[in-house]
């Protein structure tokens, strides 16, 4: 693996072209992934922007032949986790890891503009609310496993945990999600 570029090195045309291609080919997917993780458009924009800046800085550490999308999803995931940690004190919100039924308390950490506003159908609104009510860790594995259709192994690499953790987290998340969908369906 090539050594990471030093921050004060002048940008090369290859580096600029790399970023340009990355945005063009994977910008939309990255933004949608960030949007599903955060359930908030402003946060998704910030995450996407920061992720591509990291890509630009560390472009030499990307190994050709590996999945760029997995790489940038890992960056987005790490940035999101850091942001949650940073905001945790501010919002004083517990991030449940267990399967205890969790009612949405109204203190959603990153949702200022909920994604449900963007989805017109009733079903979409229900699903959006249910996803938003999951913990960030649970939402992450559900999005990666069921929407992005990654394997447990790939999710473990992106999230930075063991396959066993991915499996148990996904099981709990899906059970929780099913209850939440029923709950919001009954309400609407």
């Amino acid at each position: 693996m090539a050594a990471p570029r030093k921050p004060f090195d002048p940008p090369s045309p290859e580096q600029t072209a790399f970023l340009e291609r990355a945005i063009e080919q994977h910008g939309k997917a990255t933004y949608n992934f960030a949007l599903r993780l955060t359930h908030n458009e402003a946060d998704a924009r910030d995450l996407t922007q920061e992720a591509f800046i990291r890509v630009y800085r560390a472009w030499r550490s990307f190994q050709p032949g590996t999945s760029f999308v997995s790489w940038i999803y890992r960056i987005v995931t790490n940035l999101y986790r850091d942001e949650l940690r940073r905001r945790k004190g501010r919002y004083q919100e517990e991030i449940p890891e267990d399967n205890a039924p969790q009612e949405y308390s109204g203190a959603r950490p990153l949702a200022v503009e909920p994604i449900e506003d963007l989805v017109e159908s009733q079903f979409g609104e229900t699903m959006s609310k249910a996803l938003a009510a999951l913990s960030p860790d649970q939402r992450q594995v559900v999005v990666l496993a069921d929407i992005e259709e990654y394997s447990y192994q790939e999710i473990a690499e992106i999230v930075g945990c063991s396959i066993g953790t991915v499996r148990s987290r996904l099981h709990r998340a899906r059970q929780q999600l099913r209850k939440l969908v029923e709950h919001y369906s009954a309400k609407s």
């Binding site: 002048p10 945005i23 994604i115 989805v119 079903f123 979409g124 699903m127 959006s128 099981h171 899906r174």
Partner: protein, 175 residues
Amino acid sequence: MNQEHTTTENIIDYLHHELGPEADAALLLHLKSCAQCAAMYEEQARLSESLRAFARASERELPQGVVARIWDAVDAQAPQPSVTQRIAAFFRPAIVVPVAAVLVVGAFFGYSATHHASPMITIDAAYYLRDHASINNTMPFGESSVEPTSLRSDESASDQQWVASTGASAVAETR
């Protein structure tokens, strides 16, 4: 597996193709013969399909503002020039030439203003108009008086010589 009901966890792993080949085949066989487990499977499969449908419905384009902000941030992070580069940039001709010209002009006028040379002889304008000019005009043979352009005399040879010496003959010929 065929006789016992399976677990939700197994069904979720099966849905995500995460069971080993043997367990996968066994569960497939069981689902064909067990309505209760098949219903559980259908429920989990519907949840997965609902998630994908929601993702498709809520998919958004990457806002152009985000792209612009990425490039702005990248430009802002471009390395700053070193002190040597800044000095070299300062001494480029576009800056040095005008600065040098300003310094030379400033030095010249500054020197003139601070070091007075011998006072120049000046004539007061009022004096010139009132006295000097009027005095000269009233002295016909003064140094500043207007000389006649030609003198005519046919009688005296000395006069002819004087005319030739003053160039008056040339004037006469042109006439």
